[in-house]
């Protein structure tokens, strides 16, 4: 069974366990519900038949005893089923909370911001630390320890195909373990109302083979190259001398603010503004000129750039592959 963004379209072991539990609860509950409906129907039908035939109510003591026994059996069964539910849920919870027999897990710190995502890949070697925004790459088959942090309000991290939801709480570290068992590209989103643009706080998840992941990682670690053609050079000047530099960073340049998403490899990302727009030149123009028209309330202000400056800036941003 597959449909987009579904918890039943699992791609990792925690999600699989959760989906199995969900099916178990749904099926047992559905059967119980149907049995109750059937019993009610039979009882109503019997009562009607009795009334139409003018029979009196059955008041014999043995009937009363039988009914009492039936009620006792049903109550016991219900309690048992509920106990099984509770145990199954607790066991599933324990199974997915425990580190997946982890050999060399990958550690990623996720920070929720209003309204975008920051991912910091940790490594025993600090020069291998990597920061990306709104795009999460993970290698298939390797357990990933996700540390959840928040910069402002409570957000919730949810990749339906890989795991359940987990909150990002300001001033508190939450941890969860995910593991992708097959490659795939998914859309994940914030699952806890976090203000005006909660609906436009998504990110792209890419699970790929360890070799592809290593390639991507090395590419992302590289600093931005200095622009070569004259338009891109002018665009760089616009970036570092205008409003951009107050919030954004580009590794290898003067821009080092960590208020907004870092843009060292923005041209390689599939989407803009936390999954709001496909990453195209037209969309980037619209976004830079007035983000408030696309995502009202977003922290990025409208930027009144002349057409020449705008073109140059876009030329420069497109070199950031």
């Amino acid at each position: 069974m597959t449909w987009a963004g579904s918890i039943f379209d699992t791609a990792g072991s925690p999600a699989e366990r959760i989906a199995r539990l969900a099916w178990f609860l749904i099926i047992v509950s559905a059967v119980t519900y149907l049995l109750v409906l059937a019993a009610t129907g039979i009882a109503m039908r019997r009562a009607r038949v009795r009334r139409t035939q003018g029979e009196l109510a059955d008041t014999r003591p043995e009937t009363g005893k039988r009914l009492t026994r039936n009620v006792a059996i049903a109550t016991t069964l219900t309690t048992l089923i509920l106990l099984v539910y509770v145990s199954a849920t607790a066991l599933t919870g324990k199974a997915i909370a425990w580190p997946l027999n982890a050999q060399q897990p990958l550690t990623i710190e996720v920070t929720g911001h209003q309204w975008w995502w920051q991912f910091r890949y940790r490594d025993s070697l600090p020069s291998n630390w990597l920061t990306t925004s709104n795009e999460l790459h993970i290698p298939v088959g390797r357990p990933v320890r996700v540390i959840l942090l928040s910069n402002d309000v409570i957000h919730s991290f949810w990749i339906p195909e890989l795991h359940g939801k987990q909150d990002l709480i300001p001033g508190h570290r939450n941890t969860m373990w995910i593991k992708a068992d097959r490659p795939g590209v998914w859309k994940a989103r914030c699952a806890e109302f976090c203000g005006h643009q909660h609906a436009k706080m998504a990110f792209d998840v890419v699970a790929e083979s360890p070799a592809q992941f290593a390639q991507w990682y090395v590419r992302q670690l590289a600093s931005a190259l200095p622009p070569t053609d004259s338009s891109a050079k002018h665009g760089y000047d616009v970036f570092v001398q205008r409003t951009c530099i107050m919030c954004h960073s580009i590794n290898g340049t003067e821009a080092g603010s960590n208020v907004g998403p870092e843009l060292t490899h923005i041209a390689s990302r599939p989407s803009l503004a936390a999954g709001s727009l496909p990453n195209t030149r037209v969309n980037l123009t619209r976004w830079i000129l007035n983000p408030q028209l696309i995502k009202p309330g977003v922290r990025m202000p409208p930027n009144a750039l002349s057409p020449a400056d705008m073109t140059a800036l876009l030329d420069y941003l497109e070199t950031l592959k």
């Binding site: 570290r173 107050m246 309330g297 202000p301």
Partner: protein
């Protein structure tokens, strides 16, 4: 209470409730996409009233962010994010002058403050010309004024979480409990 007075009593409650409901309808507008007066408007602000000959009429730019809770709160966010706190602290001053008193070297009006941010000032205040949009300048000015009590303080109170001596337990970093934790506590006399 007789039936009559009970009716009047409930009538009054209903009237108060209706009034409260009416007041609750007034919600401040959040202007996400407004265009606030930009550079030329505040760049011509005269900083001194002393002028030779007949003084020219004073130019007044009304701050669009004045009294707007959303703008003041945004100003506070920018104040922290852009490291104004690095010199001015949270209004108490450090390397830079304090902003919560009523001494203003370069003027206390919103347009004076905006001009100070744009132009920069001698001895350390950087110029943010072209770096900050007009809307954000007015928001910053509104927050700076709120610290001195020239604006409503309600929207962005000065008691920040990070300034508390004792932070909430759920906001402290995670620590593994230790067996001899009682020994690590300071002596009772040193605790607040």
């Amino acid at each position: 209470m007789s039936a009559m007075s009970a009716g009047r009593y409930w009538g009054r409650i209903a009237a108060v409730a209706a009034l409260a409901l009416g007041l609750a309808c007034k919600r401040e507008e959040r202007r996400f996409n407004a265009t606030y007066p930009s550079a030329p408007a505040y760049a011509s602000v005269t900083l001194d009233t002393l002028q030779p000959g007949v003084p020219s009429p004073e130019l007044t730019v009304k701050s669009p962010a004045e009294g707007n809770a959303y703008d003041i709160a945004q100003g506070k966010l920018l104040f922290a994010q852009w490291n104004c706190t690095g010199c001015h602290s949270h209004g108490g001053g450090g390397m830079g002058p304090p902003l919560m008193d009523n001494e203003w070297i370069y003027g206390s009006s919103p347009e004076n403050i905006v001009a100070t941010i744009v132009e920069g000032r001698p001895n350390g205040m950087p110029s943010f010309r072209n770096r900050i949009t007009a809307n954000q300048l007015w928001q910053l000015a509104a927050y700076v004024r709120s610290m001195a009590g020239l604006e409503a303080k309600g929207p962005s109170p000065g008691r920040n979480d990070e300034m508390q001596y004792k932070v909430d337990e759920q906001r402290t970093p995670f620590r593994t409990p230790r067996a001899s934790s009682s020994k690590t506590l300071p002596a009772k006399s040193q605790r607040p």
